[in-house]
Amino acid sequence: MVVQTPNGFNLDDTGQRIVVDPVTRIEGHMRCEVNVDDYGFIRNAVSTGTMWRGLEVILKGRDPRDAWAFTERICGVCTGTHALTSVRAVEDALGIEIPDNANSIRNIMQLNLQIHDHVVHFYHLHALDWVNPVNALRADPKATSELQQAVSPSHPMSSPGYFRDVQNRLKQFVESGQLGLFKNGYWDNPAYKLPPEADLMATTHYLEALDLQKEIVKVHTIFGGKNPHPNWLVGGVPCPINVHSTGAVGAINMERLNMVSSIIDKCIEFNKNVYLPDVIAIGGFYKNWLYGGGLSSQACLAYGDIPEDPNDFSPEQLHLPRGAIINGDLSTVHDVDVRDPEQIQEFVDHSWYEYGEPGKGLHPWDGVTEAKFELGPNLKGTRTNIKQIDEGAKYSWIKAPRWRGHAMEVGPLARYIVGYAKGHEDITEQVTGLLRTMDLPTEALFSTLGRTAARALESEYCGRLQKYFFDKLVTNIKNGDESTANVAKWDPSTWPKEAKGVGMTEAPRGALGHWVKVKDGRIENYQCVVPTTWNGSPRDSQGNIGAFEASLMNTKMERPEEPVEILRTLHSFDPCLACSTHVMSPDGDELTTVKVR
């Protein structure tokens, strides 16, 4: 039967049902089911978040100054971004202003995360959807060297000998018969389009990026003491600055700043010499594979991030843009107010939670959640052995957030579409430049490839911004300001009896918000609405499908039994299920439905 969703997709669940569980190369646990018609096209898509941790329940009653550490553990991949969102929410609630240096350091750390996350995502989670490492064994190292020099003349690691060494190592690995991570890959699937030389080049960069990513994060280590999960502070940053006098070795000093500076340069170089050229080169072979646009041409949401001024989060102060696009109308970018109870609401009609009233949506400050794990009548299998999910009923641990009732896509592509629509100078220049280089029309942006390209462009832009804020930090220190924390309201006795606040960031995967209520010095309620909650959203009561589901629609599968195309498009969102599925917070309610069995 064909059903049209309000957001414009024709769902037909009559064809062959394909189940992918676990979806791998993502953060966390996810299941995907699709129906494929006789011609191999996906005509129905169902995405299920398959884990839940209940962190906000755990946060209740705790010291709000500790919340960053708890929420940081929502995700170790986008490590730090939840912590930053959390300190912003608590500072907003308690009226704490932070010093300029703290803003610069936070921005440097957040931008550093964007770059790290994007690089690791592209090379280590996503590349194997486009790149066939087994095929790289057939490559001619000399031709690979020529390809490398053509796509990126300034990358120093491009000799035939270099590629031959990597190829030999790869050969040894494959010949051992123990294929490890490459085992059972879909290496003879015609969905892989690269010539062997491009496969060898990209596989080589898989290894280069693995070496580089451990360098990138050292910026977090310097300012936050470790990575993953650096330390943060309500009121500023924990690392003091001392560049001039006694004891400078115990703080951010010249040597530390130099190390940060050199890492920032490495990021810029890698983006310029490797990441962007790879995306353009690989994308060039997949130019005709423009599936996967989903909601991106219709409904995109960004909160914006990277404030210029430490204590002003208004849109004109943000280097990453804020705004909402709906109904495919790029000529109007709507303002987004995360405090407005009418704008952001979460629905649970198809999620394993209960509000007690069907069709009801709740703003995060008033969020109510009771876990309710129940499966629909059309389930195939049993409660603890699901063969086929029933998407007509509840089917995911992810809630369905909506902006003014619309299912939205968030993430690098959404940010870039919002920025492009707003005429954001850097973003527009990057986007038009890329489309020109690749000889593609604007519509090509709305695709899996567009999502992957936007991420690379953003990594490049973030590299420049990182340098900008480093220079700003040094200038400020030069002008005599070494302050990194405001402790005027550190003591809970200085806090109001009741307060509520909201913190926003653009996490690598998209718009992230934390809503907190503080009462008598303790957390009364804490709610996170995270990027993968938006993107991985199940259907809502109106039947609108979420961004993952929409993106899979009408994609042609070369071999329905091998989910290369499904993985490719889902991965283009960089799903983070630990983020999306922890979400719950009763507003004063106790969790009562959980039983020990």
Partner: protein
């Protein structure tokens, strides 16, 4: 591990002839598109010692352990994965998905019965029939038990697998449960921390490969070489503690001079880990060096010990002349019974070595 049978041994012991074995090698070669010239090479590799297979499963977690693992500088993560172990299943990094991924895991379990290492990141939730964490349509706890059954040893990566970590903090709504409470008949090496230090993770693996034995474990099942001392014992700011020089407020003069963070809630005095010696990310820094106190992330139940900014105990109990053990004992008495056991650890070294041959260490303290 030396006693792993080669692929060829396994096939032969299952009654497969040499001829069939060579045929299998030829099929493998052609499946990979390698041509007949590679057949003898594949055959040779399969007849010699294989890399130790590792199955790496993920329960309720945040993936920080995997992220930390790939930060390893010595050895490099790529060298571990390409040359030291055979990472046959890891849902975060593997190419295959769905049935193909599950088949890869079953394949390794069958071929390397009793000889693969199971690495567990995260933990199983037991509430709601285990369905707070679903993998392949089933509760994760089933997958964990299945993978554990024929494992040679289990590594519990990080605070989640070792102790429960953040999702097990009160009130633990999913009943997230550490691995040793679900798997009780296998040697388990706990490598706690949120996450553990990258080089500690690869250090544990390479120790097992190099010395062909499990590392010496303390009573909690942690490798003594990395978790035998408190961060405070080896902290470079320790002289300031002994001299009574403390940070009194964030970003004060003492903070800028690198004084001791004890008064800001540093849990270094009660936390057993290698942060102050190995340090983080190739030795660049560690939390205290970067101005924030230790939050105690490698200790059992560290989320439920009050705010991270409370002092571990009264300063009066920390006489500046006292040695680390005395201070540790005093602090442990205040923080909780679980920690008190740490103080006895050094006296129990000989007993711990037995943990290498006996099954799971008892965890009465957990």
């Amino acid at each position: 591990m030396a006693d792993i049978e080669t692929f060829y041994d396994v096939m032969r012991s299952q009654g497969i002839t040499r001829r069939s074995f060579m045929k299998y090698c030829a099929l493998t070669a052609s499946a990979l598109g390698l041509g007949p010239a590679f057949v003898p090479k594949i055959a040779n590799a399969m007849e010699t010692k294989p890399r130790t297979p590792v199955i790496w499963v993920h329960g309720l977690e945040c993936t920080c352990c995997s992220e930390s693992f790939i930060r390893s500088a010595h050895p490099l993560a790529k060298d571990v994965v390409l040359s030291m172990i055979s990472l046959d299943y890891d849902d975060t990094l593997m190419a295959a998905a769905g049935h193909a991924a599950e088949a890869a895991m079953m394949d390794t379990i069958e071929k390397y019965k009793g000889n693969y290492i199971l690495a567990v990141e995260g933990n199983p939730p037991l509430n709601e029939d285990g369905m707070f964490c679903i993998s392949g349509g089933k509760p994760f706890v089933e997958k964990l038990k299945m993978a554990a059954k024929d494992a040679k040893a289990i590594i519990s990566w990080g605070a989640c697998a070792s102790y429960g970590c953040v999702q097990a903090a009160k009130p633990n709504p999913t009943q997230a449960t550490p691995v040793h409470k679900v798997i009780t008949d296998k040697p388990i090496i706990k490598v706690p921390g949120c996450p553990p230090i990258a080089e500690v993770m690869t250090g544990v693996i390479t120790y097992m490969l190099t010395f062909d034995r499990l590392p010496e474990l303390d009573r909690q099942g942690r490798p003594a070489m990395f978790y035998g001392q408190r961060i405070h014992d080896k902290c470079y700011r320790r002289p300031h503690f002994d001299a009574g020089q403390f940070v009194e407020a964030w970003d004060d003069d003492g903070a800028r001079k690198g004084y001791c963070l004890y008064k800001m809630g540093c849990k270094g005095p009660t936390t057993y880990n290698a942060c102050s010696t190995v340090r983080w990310n190739e030795g660049v820094s560690f939390p205290i060096q970067s101005g924030h106190g230790c939050i105690g992330c490698s200790e059992d139940g560290f989320w439920d010990q009050g705010t991270f900014y409370d002092r571990v105990t009264d300063l009066t109990q920390f006489g500046v002349e006292k040695n680390a053990d005395q201070i540790g004992m005093a602090a442990a008495g205040v923080v909780g019974g679980g920690v008190a056991l740490h103080a006895a650890v050094s006296a129990l070294k000989s007993a711990q070595s037995k943990a290498q041959t006996t099954p799971t260490p008892t965890n009465e303290e957990a």
